[in-house]
Amino acid sequence: MTAPQQTPEDLTYRFNHRHLLGIEGLSPDEITYLLDLADTYVEQNRRPDKKSDLLRGRTIINLFFETSTRTSSSFELAGKRLGGDTMNMSVASSAVKKGETLIDTAMTLNAMHPDVLIVRHADSGAVKLLSEKVNCSVINAGDGTHEHPTQALLDALTIRRRKGRIHRLTVAICGDILHSRVARSNIHLLNTMGSRIRVVAPPTLLPTDIDRFGVEVFNNIEEGIKDCDIVMMLRLQNERMQGMFVPSIREYFRYFGLTSEKLTAAKSDALVMHPGPMNRGVEIDSDLADDLDRSVIREQVEMGVAVRMACLDALTRDTVVNTP
């Protein structure tokens, strides 16, 4: 599946969207194209000279209404490696005036003629709203509990490079599905590509009607990860462990935390993934997280930069002036 010798120019352009707001609605061909493109950037990122000038002269703005270190630095690096000018804006969000800040900030930034806006916001749908008000491409870097498309793409790339495919795999997504945009984007992507998905969580952390997303639902982790190819763990936010959704960290780890012992239920070559940042000892055992035979958590971070380069490339292609 992977094509390490290829360069971005070898691939036929197959991504006809102005924005990347979510995985839902993308075709298998479009997803495959983004992953193929990302593969070429994995190679570029492993060379001593990691920089190209594909996005020379282009302005990319990271607009984060929610704090983030890894996603924003991953996007920043992706833009820089493609030779673009990247700028980071962290907008502290006051509870009341958030919305006004959103539209006002969008209009202000739009006036600076950016080529791509990368936006994260605490409210579902906020990135789509913003995309309707600006003239440039918008990449959703996570909106509320809705979608986080580049995370799903980097997970898919990680899986594809390890397993050689992303169809006909059994993938268990475990943990706080209710509040997870990562889970939603991954469900859409893996469903589109033809894998089987299981979600594993206590009922209080499952969205209503999740079974209608085309997933199997489990409330027991050993049953849920049985014979799986991939076990994806999700982060459980601190404020949700104090009795509102689950009674305690201790009880959560006991029944839903992943340990080497529980992992024996999965296939012997099953991979363990986590979008980070991890809560060691809450959703995943610390030793297991560091076990390089099973855990691909660090690889996910590497793939993240490549996938984001691919997304920036794909969204700016139609406006690129090709030099002879």
Binding site: E100, G125, G144, T145, H146, T208, F213
Partner: protein, 433 residues
């Protein structure tokens, strides 16, 4: 000073209260209905100062909109009594009943008097108001219901907020009963609805939006009905949106409790899929529900469980709606589309024309005890002349309301207001297109 005598001839007279549906004429004198019927003026031209040939169109009592947010005082950038009045007139509404969620809240006699005085200055449509059940709609201390009623408050509600505390609700129903007054509830359990912004279900889960389960409404209605039975108080459940609440109300009515309820057009004309991709104009409270709930609302209208249709007119300016879905204000404007949307269940065969009209005329008059909503001799000449069949498209740009937040923009509808008359005076006439 004698008002002119005006004759409306060649009309289809429709009066849901008496079941009248006949071709005939109606005579207005001194702002009141002096006479009406099939035989009126049969023997020759009447001697009046003005004759209006209705061309066979429907002449019915003017609409009573039992739930309207006027936004005045306090939020005049969204609506004023005057702009709401113009919207009402264009919608065939001759009486608006204002919710107390203004700033200040209508929890004091002085605010009731302010409303009445301003309504009089604005002219046109009649304005009545609810008083709040609790001071500041905070859900704690009861208002002076007796004094407020004496000043003109027609019933009591905390408007867009539920009276959540069970003991407070019990005392409100109980105390109001002493004056024969009604408590209207926004039936939604605030704790169960907490964090929700649309109907709970697959669509909310896909959009990543917090869900409000139907049970938030059902639980509150069931609790309140128990309290109504316990206290013997008069209870009204506002904007019913779920099958479960409908069933509870149906049982209570069969039992003989003095309860009533209304719904708003969006609960029978739309379902949760109208939210689409975060359309804030489809964000209402209670939320648009499932298709099964929508059907239950139509059934409730047809079998009479739902007494009345009120628009729940809630004007919001751009700044309150052009926001991420979870931050946007709840509500839609509805005065100008009340009649045409009320006619939808008639055109769809669920209601007869008289049954549909009863939900916006005779029934709200009965529930809210208003001297309006009937064609009878001596009653105020508050009338609407309309063509039930005219096809047209709702256009928010054509609204008279200061706010344009409608989920129905562009919707093809049937039935249009031609003229609106209050106290015998024409306050709106549709300009020929």
């Amino acid at each position: 000073m004698t008002s002119p005598r005006i004759a409306y001839l060649n009309a289809r007279l429709l009066d849901p209260a008496s079941g009248l549906d006949t071709h005939g004429a109606l005579l207005i004198e001194d702002g009141k209905i002096a006479d009406l019927g099939a035989d009126l003026f049969k023997d020759g031209a009447p001697s009046v100062s003005k004759v209006v040939d209705c061309g066979g169109l429907c002449l019915a009592p003017g609409l009573i909109d039992g739930r309207v947010q006027l936004r005045e005082p306090g939020e005049e950038h969204k609506e004023t009594i005057e702009t709401a009045s113009r919207a009402a007139a264009a919608g065939g509404v001759t009486t608006m009943v204002a919710l107390p969620n203004t700033t200040p809240v209508i929890d004091d006699v002085s605010v009731v008097e302010f409303m009445h005085r301003h309504a009089k200055e604005a002219g046109a449509v009649k304005v009545r108001c609810y008083g709040s059940v609790t001071r500041g709609t905070k859900g704690e201390q009861l208002t002076e219901m007796g004094l407020l009623a004496e000043a003109g408050a027609v019933a009591f509600t905390d408007g867009t907020r539920a009276v959540a505390n069970t003991m407070v609700m019990r005392r409100a129903l109980s105390y109001a009963r002493g004056f024969g007054l009604m408590i209207a509830q926004h039936p939604e359990d605030p704790q169960l609805a907490n964090g929700g912004v649309m109907n709970e279900g697959e669509i909310a889960s896909r959009l990543g939006l917090g869900g409000i389960p139907a049970e938030a409404e059902i639980i509150m209605v069931e609790r309140d009905l128990r309290l109504a039975e316990l206290t013997g108080g008069r209870y009204h459940a506002a904007h019913i949106s779920t099958r479960g609440a409908m069933e509870a109300l149906r049982r209570a009515k069969t039992k003989g409790l003095e309860v009533s309820c209304d719904t708003a057009p969006h609960y029978f004309a739309l379902n949760e899929s109208a939210v689409g991709e975060y359309r804030t104009f489809a964000k209402v409270s209670p939320p648009l529900r499932s298709e099964d709930d929508r059907k239950a609302v139509v059934e409730g209208l047809a079998d009479g469980t739902i007494d009345m249709i009120a628009s729940d007119h809630t004007p919001s300016d751009q700044d309150s709606k052009r926001l991420p879905f979870s931050q946007a204000e709840y509500g839609v404007v509805g005065l100008e589309t009340l009649l045409t949307l009320t006619l939808e269940p008639f055109h769809n065969g669920a209601l007869t024309l008289l049954e549909a009209l009863a939900k916006v005329t005779a029934n709200p008059a009965r529930v809210l005890r208003l001297d309006a909503g009937q064609l009878k001799r001596g009653a105020p000449a508050d009338l609407v002349l309309f063509n039930p069949n005219t096809p047209w498209r709702i256009e928010e740009d054509a609204f008279h309301s200061k706010s344009k937040n409608t989920p129905f923009d562009g919707r093809p509808v049937q039935g249009r207001v031609i003229e609106t008359i209050v106290n015998g005076r024409s306050i709106f006439r549709l300009e020929a297109a």
